[in-house]
Amino acid sequence: MVEVVLWASLRRLADDRESVEVDAETVKDVLKGLVEQYPALRPHLLDRGVSVSVDGQMVTSGWNEKISANSEVVLLQRIKGG
């Protein structure tokens, strides 16, 4: 199981939990697992998209990026730039 940290305003859609445990080996598993547990997260996570920090590394599009059980996984608003 991987502990996934949600940003504060996302927690309202996940029973006010700061983090959620999901069974995940990849970033895709993380997002899928979160939406399965909390369907209200779907618009943010799957429709509009997010970035995922895995051990301090920003993953914006690499859904197959591997995650280990002791990885630090933090959801972030989707990173863009100018």
Binding site: W7, S9, A40, H44, Q57, T60, V74, G81, G82
Partner: protein, 750 residues
């Protein structure tokens, strides 16, 4: 992150040198072809009719008089674009061509293609539009009030609490700890409200394009853009055609800074071309650029910070309200996430609000959101240092984020270089130089995330041993030079043996936009990997020639060599020799790389600014400026310094003069460079630069993006310098002479 993407220390031969830029001669001789330089046989000229109202219902559009004009060949309105779009596609289309309502002064309503520019503009007056004006709002704070005119209903997403004005469309919050506990531990707490006005990227080249689209959906587009692959994708959706049927070529670009990451005129030119069956060219006027492209958001912010007498920050809290025009996605989350990133805080909370106003749809502008957030946070830190009698650099070093610090936005940082920039700033002569009477000094840190994105590169050998490198990220900051350097470094050949070309969308795999400071990182990584792929193929050719195992061949100094005595005794085979025989030894040799890399390293900067204030007129002038920034590894140091200086200069403009001014009628009052004043050379001191190199662990050479971080500290650093010079805290940017004079008068100074 794949292991072979990881940073590995090495000695460089080409990387880190300063070769002459490969696009320089074309640009200084006029040979470079920018957006407006394209033409085609039978070409028509497009012009766009724009709303004079900030908000109005379109009752009717009658094009019959314009259609009878002898030079007019096509007229398009919203009916000529795709139907049934949703989400951001709908937002982009609605911005490109209004539907039922116009939402800002300058909003496109209809467009004409005619045989000359003059005829097209003349015929615009023959389109009869009946408007029903509606109430409007252009200020972010006013737009949030319960009784404010509603820009658009039903835009808010699920993050917005119930009961707010429909203009509030997104909410974000991040942070950790308990700020109340933290504030209770502080010896001094300062809370202030700040505002920044909308600024334009100010690129010198207006948007321009040439489009050709047949009724069969097969088309070509030439345009100045930061991302032609994305332009193709968006245009195809807006026109209802297949993306692969539209080949897009990026012209040379005269500046973008984020403002050319989307489309404005391109879908209009394509629609006109489809209707007229002729190529159509559109070139925006400067007035159109101001009124109808995407400036940055304006912002209203509250920041509260608590500090102990010894300089330790005990808690920090911020609320960032950004308007992004009449459409969602003002970068309020980045303001909230980036504002406190330079500091390792136990208790921190940031909130962001995305607000609609009757203004043009904001577009990205270098590190969107971060400069405004930094202005508010770094101003309060400066005030705390002043009041507690603390050295601003020492306080920042004491509180600064480092490897392992938990960022205010969540993750723990990997290896970062903030402290190194602060130490370099402290050691710089500027920091200890005496100030003249009436001058003030300001300091600020800044942070940006940096981005990666989809990236494809192809590297091909020519028979003469020269190398052609095709990348898909338009060169907005010297990337052709840095790509040539990285390819040359890997291949072991001179810089001038490589030519980098920006390939069109039909010639290379998909590439994300040149944004997010991603190009030197992501296209550079792809170039290195494509070069290594090429080397592997070259080694295989040499192995076959020598009759040895490919694993027994190494690549050194531009040559394939046997890996040792046991591998055999053969003369090294150069890249040129292998290329000369490639047709007979297996065919053409090309290396490829396609990926979405994930190792973009974040970046920090520290700026020092001296300023002086004319107490009679309120005019502020920057007298000395030093930029210190972590580049990870500077591939071409001159370009890196140029990025540092460019960010500082744009920051000076934003801090001192640049501002979208709206009148009581909701119309933009200063849509031109005479009234919207960007800095010119005579306004500026020499911008000194210091490149700090703390390698990004996610890039083979340690590269971090540098294009955006340089605009994060200037607003705050300049505001701190001006405030310290004027003797009054400036909380509203730009600090134009009337605003600064008023602040001094209200404070009884001057």
């Amino acid at each position: 992150m794949a292991l072979d993407d990881a940073f590995e220390a090495r000695e460089f031969k080409v990387v880190g040198t300063r070769p002459i830029r490969p696009d320089g001669i074309d640009k200084v001789t006029g040979r470079a072809r920018f957006g407006a330089d394209a033409s085609a046989s039978g070409m028509l000229h497009g012009a766009i009719l724009r709303s004079p109202h900030p908000h109005a219902r379109i009752t009717s559009i009658d094009t019959s008089r314009a259609e009878s004009h002898p030079s007019v060949k096509a007229i398009v309105t919203r009916d000529d674009f795709a139907k049934e779009l949703s989400g951001e596609d709908w937002n982009v289309l609605e911005n490109v061509m209004a539907g039922e309502r116009v939402l800002y002064d300058g909003h496109a309503v209809a467009a004409i293609a005619a045989t000359s520019v003059l005829a097209a503009k003349e015929a615009l007056a023959l389109i009869d539009v009946v408007y029903d004006p509606l109430p409007f709002v252009t200020d972010v704070d006013e737009a949030m009030r319960p009784d404010a005119p509603v820009v658009r209903e039903g835009v808010a997403d699920e993050s917005v609490p119930e009961g707010m004005n429909p203009n509030v469309v997104r909410y974000h919050e991040n942070g950790h700890g308990d700020v109340d506990i933290g504030f209770a531990k502080a010896d001094l707490v300062i809370e202030k409200t700040f505002k920044t006005e909308a600024a334009h990227q100010g690129y010198i080249e207006p948007h321009a394009c040439l489009a050709q689209l047949g009724a069969d959906g097969n088309g070509e587009l030439w345009c100045c853009t930061q991302g032609h692959f994305v332009a193709a994708r968006i245009c195809a959706r807006l026109l209802g055609i297949d993306a692969s049927q539209l080949r897009v070529t990026a012209s040379e670009i005269g500046g973008g800074f984020g403002g050319k990451t989307t489309v404005f005129i391109e879908p209009v030119a394509l629609a006109l071309s489809r209707k007229s069956n002729r190529p159509v060219k559109i070139v925006m006027s400067r007035e159109e650029v101001f009124r109808a492209t995407g400036p940055t958001s304006s912002a209203s912010m509250d920041v509260k910070i608590g500090m102990r007498k010894d300089g330790r920050i005990t808690a920090a809290e911020g609320e960032f309200r950004l308007q992004g025009g009449a459409f969602p996605n003002a970068p309020m989350e980045f303001a909230a996430m980036a504002a406190f990133a330079p500091y390792d805080l136990e208790h921190v909370r940031s909130k962001g609000w995305d607000v609609l106003c009757n203004r043009p749809k904001q577009a990205a502008y270098r590190a969107p959101g971060s400069p405004m957030g930094a202005f508010a946070v770094e101003s309060v830190i400066d005030e705390l240092c002043n009041k507690l009698g603390l050295d601003p650099i020492e306080v920042r070093i004491q509180n600064g984020s480092k490897e392992g610090s938990r960022a205010a936005f969540g993750p723990r940082f990997k290896r970062i270089g903030l402290i190194e920039t602060l130490e370099a700033a402290r050691a710089h002569p500027h920091y200890r130089a005496p100030l003249k009477p009436g001058q003030g000094r300001g300091l600020s840190c800044g942070f940006w995330f940096n981005h990666s994105g989809e990236t494809s590169v192809t590297l091909s050998l020519s028979y003469d041993g020269t190398v052609s490198l095709a990348v898909g990220t338009p060169d907005i900051g010297g990337s052709r030079a840095s790509m040539c350097q990285m390819a040359a470094e890997e291949l072991g050949i001179p810089f001038d043996r490589v030519r980098t070309t920006i390939a069109d969308t039909g010639s290379l795999g998909y590439n994300d936009v040149s944004h997010g400071s991603r190009v030197t990182y992501a296209s550079g990584l792809a170039t290195i990997k494509a070069a290594r792929d090429t080397i592997q193929k070259c080694c295989a050719r040499a192995a076959e020639e020598w009759g040895i195992d490919p694993e027994a061949v190494v690549w050194e100094d531009g040559c394939a060599k046997p890996s040792g005595h046991n591998a055999g005794d053969f003369e090294p085979m150069s890249l040129a020799e292998i290329a000369a025989n490639m047709g007979d030894t297996g065919g053409p040799i090309s290396g490829h790389f396609e990926a979405t890399p994930t190792g973009a390293g974040v970046s920090f900067a520290t700026h020092i600014v001296d300023a002086e204030v004319d107490r009679e007129t309120g005019a502020a002038k920057v007298t000395r400026y030093t930029v210190v920034q972590d580049a990870g590894k500077a591939i071409h140091p001159s370009y890196v310094e140029g990025q540092f200086q460019g960010g500082a200069v744009q920051g000076i403009g934003w801090a001192l003069n640049e501002e979208y001014v709206y009148g009581d009628d909701g119309r933009l009052q200063n849509a031109g460079f005479l009234d919207y004043r960007i800095p010119v050379a005579s306004d500026l001191p020499f911008i000194d630069t210091v490149i700090v190199e703390v390698p990004n662990p996610g890039h083979p050479y340690g590269v971090r993006g540098v294009g955006e971080t340089s605009i994060c500290p200037p607003l705050a650093a300049i505001a701190n310098a001006v405030s310290n010079a004027a003797g009054v805290r400036m909380t509203h940017l730009p600090m134009s002479p009337p605003r600064l004079l008023k602040a001094m008068q209200e404070a009884g100074i001057g």
